[in-house]
């Protein structure tokens, strides 16, 4: 039985295909349309999923959409009624969108799908799952556990903003929910807005900024903004927020509480904003920990699965892991709404059609999250030639040797190999790599390659077998969703003068043997690399280790700020030519910047709208 899962029309549209319960393909639409967070119907992603499985729409038994539009509309109306007459400006903006389009999503979906297959019985075969059930399914069914507690947290779905579900075998049941407007995701987004970043994409930046500050505003947040109970449930005081009735996240009362206005996009980031970021991060961790501790006590389960946008907060995930209330923690790599497409398909298969769960043998079913498009060597060569690239084709071992040499010499390398990752992280399929021992690597990659803010940290990829020698982590973290500290013996003692630095100045001080991936608080967002899921990347790091003694690489997504991660060899070549990347490895092709036609260089910095 083949089931296609879809998420669309809000943000991060995606498609995922499962075949007899096995996840065979999944991709986000933005990677094909090159429009970040593309919310349109995922036409390209669907075509890719079918093509990857040598199927067409005739072979699909059911299509499952990841949420229920009518329930969302119900929430919308009840919210307006509850707050009326406030909220008219928001109502005026929202209603036309709904009346013209969103209310008719089923028809819209049916029409779009009919272009693929006109005679299909969409009335019977187009199904809908609830938003948080989709998240929960995406977290539990691919996990390595036979039974687990599933905690999902995000901004909002239909009504739910957090949910708890119990998973056993092929069964999954939601047992409790926290409802809108009381939302941990929206609370974090409110602070994202307040610190001058874009809601729904700047949350990573707040998390990255937090270690530069002190959580001195956390008591104010606990006292005024939320009423937090022992089990982690809470209510937000809506008199400080504007998202129910207005077009912003917070109001003047919120700004008055902290004493500064909302930061403008181009305003300087000050210590105040870093302290605010540290405070909301501390509050988020406290809420999540209270939830997980209460769940462990209530259920007695040893296994926890996480999904929803808040589960991308890898600092909080790391705290949950180290809290040891659960023996095992598994986080869905596509924890955001794109992963809802996968969850919807799994809901359709296991819950609606009551099909059994394939045996996982204690491993997760995400295949390293390498579920996107791949290109054969001959196709790569053809595409690069057509794009005007000059390249050398090497044997696999030679290619790995050459790239490891370049990395050891301090060059920034674009690494395009195998299938593209599903989820927001690049995991060695579409990555930019660098030498983590270089003190200038973080700054150079941020400013010359990624064109993004200099305070943002980079993540390390480390061989699974060596992770405990370099970081305070014993567990697998294949999806870069766990943060842990660099081991004390790898850290470098800081002088008194260096200790006295604060804020972003701290960044320029080398704090460990691998400064490029060590954040100012010695933390690192770790990816463990496994030979069975990505042998080529594993071999590269191994070769780098042979040359340097260091089994770690800097790994950041292959894109510039505001650009979706590259999907095709042409995307990779264009990004290579638009940035100061030195080397590009696509399959067995190796490209050096100096060999390329300078006329093909392009202004890439301003090609994408900033996120």
């Amino acid at each position: 039985m083949r089931i296609l899962g879809l998420s669309a029309y809000y943000h991060d549209s995606a498609a995922a295909l499962i075949d007899d319960g096995r996840i065979v393909a999944a991709a986000q639409e933005e990677r094909f349309t090159r429009k970040k967070h593309d919310a349109g119907f995922p036409k390209n992603a669907i075509e890719y999923c079918l093509r990857a499985n040598d199927a067409d729409m005739h072979d699909v038994d059911y299509v499952v959409f990841y949420d229920k539009p009518f329930l969302k509309f119900e929430r919308l109306l009840e919210t307006y009624v509850a707050f009326a007459p406030r909220g008219f400006s928001s109502f005026r903006m929202a209603i036309p969108v709904w009346l013209r389009e969103k209310l008719f999503q089923k028809d819209l979906l049916r029409k779009s799908l009919k272009t693929h297959l006109p005679d299909f019985d969409w009335q019977e075969r187009l199904l809908f799952s609830e938003h948080h059930l989709s998240h929960a399914a995406s977290a539990f069914f691919p996990s390595p556990f036979d039974d687990a507690v599933v905690l999902t947290m995000d901004g909002v779905g239909e009504w739910a903003t957090s949910s708890v579900a119990m998973g056993t075998g092929s069964k999954l049941e939601v047992t409790k929910e926290l409802h809108f407007p009381h939302s941990l995701g929206l609370l974090y987004s409110a602070f994202t807005y307040y610190t001058g970043f874009k809601v729904n994409s700047g949350e990573y930046k707040v998390m990255g900024l937090a270690p530069y500050g002190e959580p001195k505003y956390a008591p104010i947040i606990f006292e005024h903004l939320l009423d937090l109970k022992d089990d982690g449930s809470f209510r937000l005081d809506q008199s400080y927020f504007d998202y129910c009735t207005g077009l912003t996240m917070t109001n003047d009362r919120f700004a008055d509480l902290f004493g500064e206005p909302v930061r403008g996009e181009d305003d300087l980031l000050t210590q105040f904003h870093m302290d605010i970021a540290a405070s909301i991060q501390a509050v988020t961790e406290e809420v999540v920990l209270r939830m997980t501790r209460a769940l462990a006590q209530e259920t007695g389960s040893r296994n926890l699965c996480l999904a929803g946008g808040v589960a991308l907060n890898c600092v909080a995930n790391g705290k949950v892991l180290r809290d040891e209330t659960f023996e095992n923690v598994w986080v869905q790599p596509a924890a955001g709404d794109a992963g809802g497409a996968l969850g919807a398909a799994l809901c359709g298969y296991h819950l609606f059609k009551e099909q059994p769960r394939p045996v996982n043998n204690g491993r997760d079913a995400m295949a390293g999250s390498y579920l996107g498009p791949t290109f054969a060597q001959s196709e790569i060569e053809q595409r690069l030639t057509d794009a005007g690239a000059k390249y050398t084709v090497l044997e696999e071992g030679q290619m790995i040797d050459r790239v490891a040499d370049d990395l050891a010499d301090g060059r920034a390398v674009g690494w395009f190999q195998g299938r593209m990752e599903f989820g927001p992280r690049a995991l060695g399929g579409r990555s930019i790599l660098g030498d983590p021992r270089s003190p200038s690597m973080q700054k150079n990659l941020n400013l010359k390659v990624k064109y993004r803010e200099s305070f943002r940290p980079f993540a390390p990829s480390v061989l699974r077998e060596d992770v405990a020698d370099w970081f305070e982590l014993e567990a697998d973290s294949p999806y870069m969703l766990i943060v842990a500290d660099v081991r004390p013996d790898k850290r470098r003692a800081m002088s008194d003068a260096e200790q006295a630095l604060f804020g972003i100045d701290k960044l320029n001080v080398a704090r460990s043997e691998i400064p490029a991936v060590t954040h100012v608080d010695y933390s690192a967002r770790i990816q463990t690399v496994h030979a069975d899921t990505n042998p080529r990347y594993h071999a590269l790091i191994n070769r780098f280790k042979d040359k340097t003694g260091c089994p770690v690489l800097v790994n950041t997504s292959f894109n510039v700020r505001g650009e979706p991660i590259v999907c095709t060899p042409e995307d990779a070549f264009h990004c290579f030519m638009g940035t100061e990347l030195d080397v590009l490895a696509v399959g067995n092709c190796v490209l050096a910047k100096d060999d390329q036609d300078p006329k093909l260089k392009r202004d890439y910095k301003d090609a994408f709208e900033l996120d």
């Binding site: 209603i95 969108v97 709904w98 009346l99 089923k106 809601v199």
Partner: protein, 49 residues
Amino acid sequence: MSFILELWKFLRVRKKFWLLPIILMMVVFGGLIVLVQGSAVAPFIYTIF
């Protein structure tokens, strides 16, 4: 037509018939707004829309 039928079923299952007059009012008001306004573009606050 199938849309109205589905909406009716939805209200029945959710036991939310009290929403019906509000929906009708909103359709009227919203319809006016749609007529007056040239385009319907959702602002980027995903929480509501």
